[in-house]
Symmetry: C2
Subunit: 232 residues, 2 copies
DNA sequence: TGCCGTGATCTGTGATCACAGTTAGACTGG
DNA sequence: CCAGTCTAACTGTGATCACAGATCACGGCA
């Protein structure tokens, strides 16, 4: 190991396996709500769309099933799980606890990079939602960007990973709805809470950051529940 | 659906897939620390041991990799991840936050069934650790039983699932060590904290339940860290 | 008209094969 | 005795095939 000396900046040639890419693709579909609860997913059809054999898709799906972001029914059919109102309430409570905790940690442990990322993400989403004709899919994406910018500031990879898994479950329910209803975005609740969270984190006020995230999550969840589209 | 009339008590023939069984087996090995960090795992060898082809093992492993309970190195070798001290501290902090939260919820939402389960689990582990020659693997198992009896009392399936994933990561580090060192078990810290947790939950004292679990987790983690076996 | 058998077609699961990349060890040349 | 090379045995990944079970539409019987 004596010679190279020069280019140490060669990144290790990210050899992404097809399975990983398939996973990333499907996970994105779920998180952004383009796959609706109850919707079925055929391995072969998905493989066809992705232009690969079913093997990579199988790996991706088995991961998502492990995360309970997908489920395979006793009748051998893969679909995105239907969520009962009770389950959704449970999920929301857990999200408030964990994401709230992450926001509080972010207020305590952030660095300047984090602040910049959070501020930029907040502004991007604010601009989009104040546009005359907001691009809803883009708003959903920007909302995610903002939240994860906050959580990244907690400097806890494990926490971020857990939250990602939660979003994988919540995405189909929440974002499917948001896509169909510009109303709530226009109302500006999310924008308002996001600003509060940003200011709280900048001020190092962990309790306020936690409360802001909790209010944001609860607001969206109550909106979904009030529309009564959930089973049982 | 008019005719059967007779046996309504036929359980739906739990068709467990080979992949699931392989997953359960490997997950158990990890959680109980029988697979040490850094240890390599060959798909074909594992398939051979389990008496199946490599397909079910592949599914099981890809799930565990998704959970970061296993990892596949850039050189194509699956192994139990090595954990740095920093990562272990992060994991411990997250565990304290989440499992503490679950214990607090358990104190608030438990029912009598839960109390019975918790009391029974606590006693079983106390008896084992007070034996002349404690069966360490069994003690590890009973410790897990107790903790999950507590978390089940929170009545939040999602929370329990998250904690399970955390134990999958912590198992190899913590239980490998515990298996080799009866000292800490004999010292009785865990037993002491468990009793406190049980009493707190029975009394509906959420703060005390949370503190007890936190102390239990922190005690074990500090013990591991003090032995300095972790990298970096 | 209403119901039930039936077969074609689809499902996920599992096994097997092919392949490229890695590793370890014997071997060779200095 | 050590550095280098080459080979043989392994690794996970991906594709393909085989199969049992589920689904659904068609058609005939009541």
């Amino acid at each position: 190991m004596n010679l190279p000396s020069a280019l140490n900046l060669v990144e290790p040639l990210d050899r992404q396996t097809l399975g990983e890419r398939a996973y990333a693709r499907l996970a994105d579909l779920l998180m952004s709500g383009r796959l609706a609860p109850g919707e079925k997913l055929s391995l072969r059809a998905a493989a066809d769309v992705l232009g690969v054999s079913i093997m990579p898709v199988r790996e991706a799906v088995s991961r998502l099933v492990a995360d309970k972001a997908l489920e395979v029914t006793p009748n051998r059919a893969v679909r995105v799980p239907l969520m009962s109102a009770a389950q959704f309430r449970d999920l929301t409570k857990v999200r408030i606890a964990i994401e709230g905790h992450a926001a509080a940690q972010a207020a305590l442990h952030h660095d300047s990079n984090n602040l910049m990322g959070i501020a930029r993400a907040e502004e991007a989403m604010r601009l989009e939602s104040e546009a005359d004709v907001p691009d809803l899919p883009r708003a959903v994406e920007l909302n995610k960007t903002f939240h994860f910018a906050v959580y990244a500031a907690a400097h806890s990879p494990i926490l971020v990973e857990i939250i990602r898994a939660l979003w994988l479950k919540a995405g189909p329910v929440i974002n499917l709805d948001l896509r169909a209803n510009p109303d709530r975005l226009a109302k500006g609740d999310a924008i308002h809470f996001h600003a509060e969270v940003r200011k709280a984190i900048e001020a190092g006020n962990s309790a306020a950051a936690q409360a802001g995230i909790a209010a944001d999550i609860k607001g969206a969840a109550d909106f979904i529940l009030s529309r009564g589209g959930l089973a049982e």
